[in-house]
Symmetry: C2
Subunit: 237 residues, 2 copies
């Protein structure tokens, strides 16, 4: 199966959680909107009448005749096919539950710099962003990171399921990498208290296919158009 | 199977999406935190060390030995067991995709009155709430409602899958009911242009078990502690 990933071509964004799974599995895929004329194709599928079951937004995945949207739903579909989740239904639901918690967390990261509207510039909501980011750093970031540290502590072995690797490990790696880019000061303080996810990050980064991917041009660098953005005033000392 | 639903006892909130599925199916369930000593039991599970796989937040469902959290994940689990989703994997993924879109939408509704922090009172973020709600009414609400109207138009039959009823229909009903409570003026304008989800709301409300549930004391009324809240200043004429 040759998978077609459809996502905005210039950011990591939500698409990156799918890219990491495809890359780790060595899957055959094309990142459509980064190919010539790919962006027009993606927009036609999104805005046109070709599909009875149209995605609300990118990312979406085309797998043969199926079109699947919502990041966590795409990973629910890909997990078994790429060998990135165990067979037992209870395990799959648990991994999906972790993925949905990551999705909520990611939406909160986005809203730290866009607390009023995605349709306005950061500069148009900067004062609100300062309040929201301060609350995120004080309350929400420690809660999410503490939750994942707990999961790693209660399921020893180095990954979220213990010794068995799964796609949620890739997503947790991405959250840590992104938060280090966006909130280096806040993260430096939190890392001292959370050795387990710090170690998980490095373990994932050194998986051979992930290491190769991160060193390649396929990995879009973090930038100020993505979900993880660094504004020094939102991450004070 | 006797299901145990764990959720905050005084609001509809996210738990209501699960309650509606259990009620429509006539399932055997107990709403734990609304029973004597139930709240303490829920908090012990949430904060204690009893579970290796602890939920991040309510709602969560106990089904025998399994504990499943995240609203959409609970519905993914219950759907096949309650006969609220077709058998085909492609259909189940599509219904789940709609449910995840509803989850995103619901989080945006919450943030209209709490754009800075859930830990602060509305009055402490009222000016930000006015900006965010105005943007929600102008941009986001029409986008979400237009999306679901499109799905109903492209899959004729009265429900999201066409003639086949599924749990996402119950959730869409709940969104419409909640938004009518919170944003009556904005909704009245949008309803004129969207006959299909208006009809879906009434179709769901008249399903015998749902009608009985809505008339019962089990249905907690909308109130100013829930996700759907009515503040007149956020819904101007």
């Amino acid at each position: 199966m040759r998978y077609e990933l459809h996502y905005w071509p210039e950011i990591q964004g939500r698409g990156e959680f799918v890219r990491l799974a495809l890359e780790d599995a060595g899957a055959n895929y094309v990142d459509v909107a980064r190919q010539p004329k790919g962006m027009a194709l993606m927009m036609r599928l999104l805005e046109g009448r070709a599909l009875a079951r149209t995605p609300f937004a990118p990312p979406f995945l085309r797998a043969g005749k199926q079109v699947i949207a919502q990041t966590a739903n795409i990973l629910l579909f890909l997990g078994p096919r790429l060998g990135l989740v165990p067979k037992r239904e209870a395990d799959r639901l648990w991994v999906h539950q972790l993925q949905l918690t990551i999705a909520d967390w990611l939406a909160e990261v986005h809203d730290t710099h866009h607390p009023i509207s995605s349709g306005l510039y950061y500069e148009q909501q900067k004062s609100e962003a300062k309040r929201r980011a301060a609350n995120f750093i004080a309350e929400r970031l420690p809660k999410f990171l503490g939750c994942f540290e707990n999961v790693l502590r209660r399921n020893p072995g180095g990954y979220l399921l213990g010794k068995r690797f799964c796609y949620a490990d890739l997503s947790l790696f991405q959250m840590i990498a992104g938060l280090r880019y966006a909130y280096p000061r806040a993260m430096a303080k939190l890392e001292r208290k959370h050795p387990l996810w710090v170690a998980l990050h490095d373990r994932v980064a050194s998986r051979p296919r992930i290491a190769a991917y991160l060193a390649s041009k396929r990995r879009i660098p973090f930038n100020q158009q993505g979900i993880f953005r660094h504004y020094a005033e939102l991450d004070p000392a």
